[in-house]
C-alpha cells in the first residue's frame, strides 16, 4: 500500500516561504510527476514527503497515518537522488543490500533479493564492482536497484535521469515506467522536463513558486489547463497567447491557441502575418510568424509545407481548440 495525502503542507526556510500550502491526493500504485520551473519547490516538496526536511505546517499522510513526526528511516519510502548518492566504499552488492541489512533481514534472503533486483536491472555482471568503476547509466541503475529491493510503500525520484545523455535518458525513461507498472508501487517523480512528465505520468502536478497550479492527467493538462501558467508550461512548442481585441471577440482577456491548432493558409479569414523563420524537420514544419499587433505566433504543421521565410500567410485558430482566460489568468469554461 502506498497512498500519500498532503494536507495544507507548508515549508519556510527562515523567513522565506517556499511551499505555500500544498494539497494533494496520490492514490496507491499511481505514477505522479512534479513539474515546474527551476526553483519552484519540487525538490523541497519531495524532501518533505521523504522526511528529509521538516514541515513548517500541515500534515502528510501515508496510508492514512500522519507521518510529519516520523523520521525518514521509518516512513517506508525509498528515494533515488539526482546525484545517485551511492555509497562509494561499498560494492554494487553492498549498495543494494544496505537497506535490507538495516532492516535486519537474514543473509540468505538479502542475497536472494539483491540478485533478483540485479537481474531485473541487468546489473548481475557488476555486483562486485565499486560505484566508481561504473558508467553513469549503470550507477543510475544501482540507485534504482537500491530503491526497489526494499519493496517500499512509494518511490521518490528527484530528476534521476538528468545526468544521462539523451539516448540513454529515453531508454531509462521506458525502463523506469515499465518497472513501476510491474511493481505497482506508488511513484513520485520530479522533473523539469515536460516530455518526461507527459510520457511517464498517470497524473501530473504542476508547481509554480511553491503553489500547486493544477493536478491532473497529462491529457487534462493539455486539453483543459486551469490557468495561463499551466497552459504556457505544458506543450511544446509553447501555446500562443493573444490579448486585446482579438481575445475580446471570444469574450476573454486572453486567448491561447496551441501551435498545432493553427491552420496555415496562403489567404482567407484569420490572422495575417509574415513568416520570420521556417523550420523544416521533415516530420513537422514549425513556422514563427510575425503577426503585427498580435506579436510572434508559432504554428506547427505535421508533414512538410512548401513555405519559407518572407512568405505572407494567414493563420486561423481551430475554434473548438481555443483556450479562454480571464484577466487574472484563470481559465474560462463555457
Amino acid at each position: 500500500m502506498g497512498q500519500i495525502t498532503l494536507q495544507d503542507v507548508q515549508k519556510s526556510f527562515g523567513p522565506v516561504h517556499i511551499i505555500k500550502g500544498a494539497n494533494l491526493d496520490i492514490s496507491d500504485g499511481s505514477f505522479v510527476v512534479f513539474v515546474g520551473p527551476s526553483g519552484c519547490g519540487k525538490t523541497t516538496l519531495l524532501r518533505l514527503i521523504a522526511g528529509l526536511e521538516d514541515v513548517t505546517g500541515g500534515s502528510i499522510l501515508i496510508d492514512g497515518k500522519n507521518v510529519v513526526d516520523v523520521p525518514p528511516a521509518k516512513r517506508g519510502l525509498s528515494m533515488v537522488f539526482q546525484s545517485y548518492a551511492l555509497y562509494p566504499h561499498m560494492s554494487v552488492r553492498g549498495n543494494i543490500a544496505f537497506g535490507l541489512k538495516m532492516a535486519g533481514l537474514p543473509k540468505a534472503e538479502i542475497n536472494r533479493k539483491v540478485e533478483a533486483a540485479a537481474a531485473t536491472l541487468n546489473l548481475t555482471p557488476y555486483l562486485d564492482r565499486k560505484p566508481r568503476e561504473l558508467s553513469g547509466g549503470q550507477r543510475q541503475r544501482v540507485a534504482i536497484g537500491r530503491a526497489i529491493v526494499r519493496e517500499p510503500k512509494a518511490f521518490l525520484f528527484d530528476e534521476p535521469l538528468s545526468n544521462l545523455d539523451a539516448a540513454l535518458r529515453v531508454q531509462m525513461r521506458l525502463e523506469v515506467t515499465r518497472l513501476q507498472k510491474q511493481l505497482a508501487t506508488t511513484a513520485i517523480y520530479v522533473t523539469h522536463d515536460q516530455v518526461e512528465a507527459m510520457t511517464m505520468a498517470d497524473k501530473i502536478v504542476v508547481l509554480n513558486a511553491g503553489r500547486i497550479e493544477q493536478y491532473g492527467t497529462p491529457l487534462e493538462l493539455y486539453e483543459k489547463p486551469a490557468n495561463l501558467f499551466v497552459a504556457g508550461f505544458i506543450g511544446s512548442p509553447k501555446m500562443n497567447f493573444v490579448n486585446g481585441a482579438a481575445a475580446a471577440k471570444y469574450g476573454a482577456a486572453t486567448i491561447g491557441v496551441r501551435p498545432e491548432h493553427l491552420r496555415i493558409a496562403r489567404d482567407g479569414e484569420g490572422w495575417p502575418g509574415k513568416i520570420a523563420v521556417a523550420e523544416h524537420l521533415g516530420s513537422d514544419t514549425f513556422l514563427y510568424v510575425d503577426a503585427g499587433a498580435l506579436g510572434t505566433l508559432t504554428a506547427r504543421h505535421v508533414g512538410e509545407l512548401d513555405l519559407s521565410a518572407g512568405d505572407d500567410i494567414v493563420l486561423s485558430p481551430d475554434p473548438s481548440r481555443i483556450h479562454r482566460f480571464d484577466k487574472d489568468g484563470n481559465a474560462l469554461r463555457s
Binding site: A50, L52, P71, P72, A73, K74, L77, S78, M79, F81, S83, A85, L86, Y87, P88, H89, F98, G99, M102, A103, R146, R150
Partner: protein, 276 residues
C-alpha cells in the same frame, strides 16, 4: 634550448628542496649524533661531525638511571587514550556541525578554536587546583582528560573540514535506507571519512605524544610520560648533553617510526583537507 633551461630549473629546485629538507632535519640528526658521543665530545668546540669516538654508553646509563619502558607505556596510554576519546567526542560533534549547520555553527567553531589561542599557563593554577582536589595529579586519567580537552578543538576542526567534503546526499540516502543516526555514522560516514580520520588520529597522536606543558606540570613519576623522562636529564645536576640526546632519541623514536610509515596520511592531515 627550452628543454635545457627546464632541466636546469628542475635541478636547482631539487637541490634547493634537499637543502631545505636537510636544514629542517639537521637538529634531529645532530641530536642522534650527539647521543653517541661522550659527554666531553658533546660540547667540544669545534664540534666533530662524524669522526668522534662512537659509544652507546649514554643509552646504557639512561636505561640504568630511569625506566624507559615505564615512561614509554605512559606515553602510549596518554597519547592513545586522549586521541581515541577526543575522536569519539569529535565525530558526532563534527557530523552535526557539517551536516545540520545552524546560524551559530561558525561562531561555535571559532569559539572552540579561540580556546587554543589562550596560553595554557594562563589556566595552570585553576587546573592544578581542580586536579589536586579531584585526586587527578600524577594520574594517567588526569593526563588523558587534560590532553583530550586540549586537543579537542583541533580534532573537531579537522574532522569538520573533512566531513564538509562528503556529499550530504549519501548520508540522506542511508537515512532513506532505514539507517538510524548511529548506524549512519558507523556504516556510512566513518568508512567514507577514513582518510580524514586517519590523518586526524595520527596528527593528534603526535601532538599528544610531544605535549610537554601539562604533562610536566601535572605528573611527577607514576603517570609521567616520555616528556618528563627527557626533562629529567636537563636538571638539576646540570646539563648532560649526550645523555639528554640519548633520552630524546629514545623518546621520539616510536613516533618517528609511526610518522615514517604514515607519511601520506600525515601530509593530508597537515594540509587540513585543503587537497583532496
Amino acid at each position: 634550448m627550452a628543454r635545457m633551461a627546464t632541466n636546469r630549473r628542475v635541478a636547482i629546485s631539487t637541490v634547493g628542496a634537499w637543502l631545505a629538507g636537510f636544514l629542517i632535519f639537521f637538529p634531529i640528526l645532530w641530536m642522534v649524533l650527539t647521543s653517541f658521543k661522550t659527554e666531553l665530545e658533546a660540547f667540544a668546540i669545534p664540534p666533530s661531525f662524524l669522526f668522534f669516538h662512537w659509544t652507546t654508553e649514554n643509552y646504557a646509563t639512561v636505561q640504568e638511571r630511569s625506566d624507559y619502558i615505564h615512561h614509554a607505556l605512559n606515553s602510549i596510554i596518554i597519547a592513545g587514550g586522549s586521541t581515541l576519546i577526543a575522536l569519539l567526542i569529535a565525530i558526532p560533534a563534527a557530523w552535526s556541525m557539517a551536516f545540520s549547520p545552524t546560524k551559530r555553527t561558525k561562531d561555535v567553531l571559532l569559539w572552540m578554536l579561540s580556546t587554543k589561542m589562550m596560553p595554557p599557563v594562563g589556566v595552570l593554577v585553576p587546573i592544578y587546583l581542580i586536579w589536586r582536589d579531584f585526586g587527578l595529579l600524577d594520574s594517567l586519567t588526569g593526563l588523558v582528560i587534560i590532553l583530550c580537552l586540549g586537543n579537542l578543538p583541533i580534532v573537531i576542526w579537522m574532522l569538520f573540514t573533512y566531513f564538509k567534503e562528503i556529499p550530504k546526499d549519501i548520508l540522506e540516502a542511508a537515512r532513506m535506507d532505514g539507517a538510524t543516526i548511529g548506524r549512519e555514522l558507523i556504516y556510512v560516514l566513518t568508512p567514507m571519512a577514513i582518510p580524514g580520520l586517519a590523518s586526524t588520529l595520527l596528527l593528534n597522536l603526535i601532538l599528544a605524544w610531544n605535549e610537554a606543558f601539562w604533562t610536566l606540570n601535572l605528573s611527577t613519576l607514576n603517570a609521567a610520560p616520555l616528556t618528563v623522562f627527557i626533562a629529567s636529564y636537563s636538571s638539576p645536576e646540570g646539563l648532560f648533553w649526550a645523555k639528554l640526546s640519548a633520552a630524546s632519541t629514545l623518546a621520539i623514536a616510536p613516533i618517528l617510526v609511526l610518522g615514517w610509515f604514515s607519511q601520506r596520511q600525515l601530509v593530508r592531515g597537515l594540509t587540513f583537507g585543503a587537497v583532496k
